[in-house]
Symmetry: C2
Subunit: 704 residues, 2 copies
């Protein structure tokens, strides 16, 4: 680890750099990279067999001529030649080798072979490889830059606290370049490319401990070792905000899509649930990623989600309120209710026709002093967690000095303040000035409101991460044993009918109501027999076959059967489904909500569970929530509270069901799921119902 | 009308302009406006008692010295003096007077008096007044500009087809200024300010007929004469896209908020429903307004909502897909499924490791030719309605020439193409180049995808507007008569109990199941009596009081009463609610969905109806849809189809209810609502249920 950190330090602060393929030809990668590296204070060793000097520097004819033990070699030549050069550099003990060329694993079999050769070098020689197909690194504070395409480097030269790690060069530099236009504090940019050696995990480790890094932004398309990645990211998120953009969204495969849970999941909902579980923030595009990183790096944490808005144009206040009130994929916000004292202060110091309610509208007659007074009053209000300033510059009353005056207040404030401003062709300039004064500004209402959501998410995550159990999860039973024993007792090996699925649930301690399994050859039970099994009329009679997945669709369910009708119904069912088992149970009263609980295997993260509103509305509202399994009860409760229907668990409109009981059931289900779905099986409880006193598993399915 | 059009023509193409308060003092409104107006070819008549010349122009000492019958006078002085000047100009038959100063109705009683004086001038002298508190007009093609704050005028000088009408000067110029940075074709900008005379309706009329205007963008905070506005806007929307940003969102008032429907409405949902009904597109902030106007002005209509995406960076393709798949407040989109032929064409002309599925990923090895080939193939695919090009510039393979080459294809294409591009500090320049080539480009994925939604909305609206009935709505009954007669028969004048509410529904022809009203003094009915009234056991017994709004909450409902228990239940209910009526009905089987139907009065638009999913989930999912009343059956069907639960009306998962029957019921309800809520009353049906054969009004409420 120490060794690895030393090499990493040499990657980001090299004193001796080799450049394979350096050239004077303008526009060539080898020229652009060499030009950039000349700005650093490192000693440069350009290599090119065709020239003797480049811009006054002596050029080495061959990679073989490079000195031993360089801190960094940047290889700017094509794939096949780059591999040979890398092999030579590794032999010569270069600490780090960046390979810019593409044409490796991403292009097919031939490229994969080249990449395999690269992969052997770290173990063999100790050199670390960044790439191939990587833009390399950009570290403003060290004037280290290997990125040959436009990336806003001039505007980013001031540096900052954000480490930006990206698997895609394009997505990384394009978003960074755009963000640089309005101010963005970059600690370092790393393109990890094909990850032949160094990957996101190596850089998480490094920037997680780097004192110059205050925020991490990650763009990844594929995550191998998903759980390890999440655990590492969680460890860092306890200390620093970490925002992830995961774009390599794929469906969880055809097999998963065949189950109810799978259809509701894609694998993207699982990713969202997993990130929440691990306290990691998620962005959905490159603009969000940069906005989130900028906000979290610059702005103080929010104690809650109550937002106050100041504006000098009423319309912007109303539109801002609309965004605050409209839920999206990020944390919910609320409009703050201002105290009488606050309103009085604002009323006293502003125009008589100003609106002192939230959003505070200073009107077009506003001046600098009124803005500052209102900002001060809102910051002092205990009912306000975040302030959004909608700021204009309209001399003479509102002057160019306002931004500096506001920044002075904002820097000293204990609460977070975000700024929205637009000013035609000067918009970016004003935003950059705010940035230089330490204030995060945005030119669209949707973005400034979303920035507030990122702050709220971060505070929530921090609370969540503090209470998360440090100890590994201790299972309540040996579900591996339970599952194996259960599988061996199946009537049709490899296929479970409803009764058998329920037996598995029961053996995990889940509440399954009594049932009577009637085999095709068994005599028909009478009322007394059923009563002895705890089953009273009216009855529910169901087809119980491992071969039929949707028994309702084939007319395999008869409900509300009176005692006198039991035998005729059973006889009719036997005629309809010859050779099949039937399952007899009591009709259960349904007293409120019903839920679906499911489990599936995510390709990146493994076993996951889902909970959602049950019944016919499940697929229409897609009101579902996911977590990785196993999942402790506190996390299960959080998962339930994410559902839109959550209030019905807390007594909404007279409907009250036992939340703790449901939480315990789902937690146990999740423990079993961790075993069952990892073995390749799927399982659903659909629905679990509240009968007025307890939750009951009304139907269950296990597909092996 | 002719007269009005002539004046309006003189406002936008003045040949002789007076400027009251013109000055040489830099930074003053009178100086800035004068400077701008000097660029026009009009003859200028500056007025200022303190100076003799201004920048070489002779200055008139007094408004009295202005010539008669000027086309336009721009008044740049303070409120009180501006009114006097306007009065003089009106006497001197100025065709149009723009008053820039604020300090009128928006500031209180004194300002209101000044504004009243202005309001008298048009009728008295024929002059039209724009303002007060208006930034005036900006017409690039006429080099006419009275806007004294930064508004991107340099970039907008090229002109275009978008008429931008705004009630708020700030919101107007700030958004316009921002939009100008990436290209925006402006026909004219008008700030309507306080609307002392000319209002949005006058400018809708003008730009609706103006051959140079192809798209209208409107920002309004208050709409008076809401229905007239909608009808006028609909008339224009039949010919030209019209996008409305309505920010003056207010709750419908305390009285409305006391009803179920009112709580679900705000007045904002009503606005959205009304705009859909009238085929008008809605924007939710200034950025959306400008993006929508730009897109609709520049891009061809879309035949459907199937989008294909081309990218050279896989990640952007996946993120773009995510936005396409994620529903928002605008029209839904779908990812197109490409034909085999299309995939074959792309496979043939691109790299072997490119992805030929949608999103098409040309990979980082792409060049100009591959982009053009893929674009061509997607445009030729019958399964594609809209193409989004995610475009980068990475020489040498992808060159700066690509944008011009793509533009040539896009201009000739029959399908709409939108472009996304980012390029650090040069992003705006690239977008502006696209704009100049006739291509609509955006620098964020969310915005380019939203632009596609605007195109789809426009096509839908056009189809809808073509089929809308030209004739005025013919009511199916005289609901005014029905309502008056019903009110006179109420037991407690001004208060309706459930039975009476149901009687009103029944008299409008709505399906109300039989009921037996039991007064406190009546003898208890026996089974035969009830049977004669069409009521069979098991019974439902309900408290029926105009005083109790929520009978369930007070224990006023007993369900499933067997014949033998009828009298005990009735006696117990009489003891619990002495002096109150009881209502006896049959228990009705519920076979599927239940809905709530409500009516309320919107402050701007009058009578409106709501339909939503009923039961406990109504308030949690807020799955509701609004329209203005009355509402014809086709529009009611559209309203129902907007609900997330709509599929259950079309046989989703075996649940099938009669859609046409429900539509007819809601249409009739809407006709009655147009009368009832306009009289100040509210009414709800909650729920209406499907019993397997018909829809039935299970409960109804009328609050007078």
């Amino acid at each position: 680890m120490r060794e690895s950190a030393t090499r990493m330090r040499r990657l980001f602060n090299p004193t001796r750099i080799g450049i394979i393929g350096a050239t004077e030809t303008p526009g060539k990668v080898g020229r652009i990279v060499f030009d950039y590296l000349r700005r650093s204070s490192a000693e440069l060793f350009p290599v090119n067999p065709k020239i003797q000097t480049i811009l006054g520097y002596p050029v080495l004819p061959s990679t073989e001529n490079l000195p031993e033990d360089l801190d960094l070699v940047v290889v700017t030549i094509g794939a096949a030649a780059a591999v040979e050069a890398a092999e030579t550099c590794a032999r010569k003990k270069a600490a780090n080798i960046i390979i810019i060329a593409g044409g490796f694993g991403e292009t097919g079999a031939e490229g994969r072979l080249l990449e395999e050769r690269l992969k052997t070098l770290p173990a063999k020689y100790g050199s670390r490889i960044l790439g191939p197909n990587s833009l390399g690194v950009f570290v403003p504070s060290a004037k280290l830059d290997t990125i040959f395409v436009e990336h806003g480097d001039a505007a980013l030269a001031g540096g900052g606290g954000i480490a930006f790690i990206t698997q895609s060069g394009s997505v990384g530099v394009e978003s960074l370049g755009l963000a640089s236009n309005t101010g963005f504090g970059l600690r370092a940019f790393v393109g990890i490319g094909n990850k032949a050696d160094l990957d996101e995990s190596d850089f998480l480790t490094w920037f997680g401990s780097d004192s110059g890094t205050d925020t991490l932004a990650l763009y990844v398309e594929s995550i191998e070792k998903g759980r390890l990645f999440l655990e590492q990211a969680r460890g860092i998120a306890r200390r620093k905000p970490l925002v992830l953009l995961k774009a390599g969204r794929t469906l969880a495969g055809a097999s998963a899509a065949s189950s109810h849970t799978g259809r509701l999941a894609g694998s993207d909902n699982v990713v969202s649930g997993a990130l929440r579980q691990y306290g990691i923030q998620r962005a959905f595009d490159d603009e969000e990623l940069c906005d989130a990183a900028k906000t979290l790096s610059m702005v103080k944490p929010a104690a809650g989600n109550r937002v106050a808005v100041i504006t000098a144009a009423g319309g912007f206040g109303v539109m801002c309120t609309d965004y605050i009130d409209t839920p999206d994929r990020h944390a919910p916000l609320r409009m703050a209710v201002l105290s009488e004292k606050t309103k009085e202060r604002i009323r006293f110091g502003t125009l008589p026709f100003a609106s002192v309610h939230n959003p505070v509208d200073l009107t077009a007659g506003a001046d600098d002093a009124m803005y500052l007074l209102a900002l001060d009053a809102l910051l002092a209000d205990e009912g306000v967690d975040i302030v959004i300033c909608v700021t204009f510059f309209a001399p003479p009353s509102i002057t160019d000095m306002l931004s500096e005056k506001m920044a002075a207040v904002i820097r000293k404030a204990e609460k977070p303040v975000l700024v929205f401003t637009q000013y035609g062709p000067f918009t970016d300039t004003y935003l950059k000035n705010f940035y230089k004064s330490g204030v995060a500004g945005f030119s669209s209402l949707s973005r400034v409101v979303r920035a507030a959501r990122f702050l709220v998410e971060r505070s929530r995550n921090l609370r969540h991460l503090k209470e998360a159990p440090a100890a590994p999860f201790a299972p309540t039973a040996d579900y591996q044993d339970i599952f194996s024993a259960w599988k061996q007792r199946l009537e049709v090996p490899g296929h479970a009918n409803e009764w058998e699925a329920k037996l598995l649930m029961r053996s995990a301690g889940l509440p399954v109501p009594p049932g009577y399994l009637l085999s095709p050859r068994d005599p028909l039970p009478n009322v007394e027999t059923l009563s002895a099994a705890g089953i009273a009329p009216p009855y529910a009679v169901k087809l119980c076959s491992a071969r039929v997945l949707h028994k309702t669709d084939v007319g395999g369910v008869v409900l509300g059967v009176e005692a006198k009708d039991l035998h005729p119904v059973l006889e009719s069912a036997r005629r309809k489904f010859p050779g099949e088992n039937l399952l007899i149970g009591s009709m259960l009263p349904i007293r409120g909500p019903e839920f679906i609980i499911g489990a599936l295997k995510d390709p990146a993260f493994g076993a996951a569970i889902m909970v959602g509103v049950g019944g016919i509305l499940t697929e229409l509202y897609r009101d579902v929530s996911f977590r990785l399994a196993p999942c402790d009860p506190r996390e299960v409760e959080r998962m339930l509270m994410e559902l839109t229907v959550a209030p019905i668990l807390n007594g909404f409109r007279g409907s009250k069901a036992d939340l703790a009981q449901l939480v315990a059931i789902i937690a146990r289900f999740s423990e079993m799921a961790a075993v069952v779905v990892e073995s390749g099986a799927q399982m659903d409880i659909n629905p679990i119902i509240w009968n007025g006193e307890s939750w009951f598993v009304l139907d269950a399915k296990v597909v092996l």
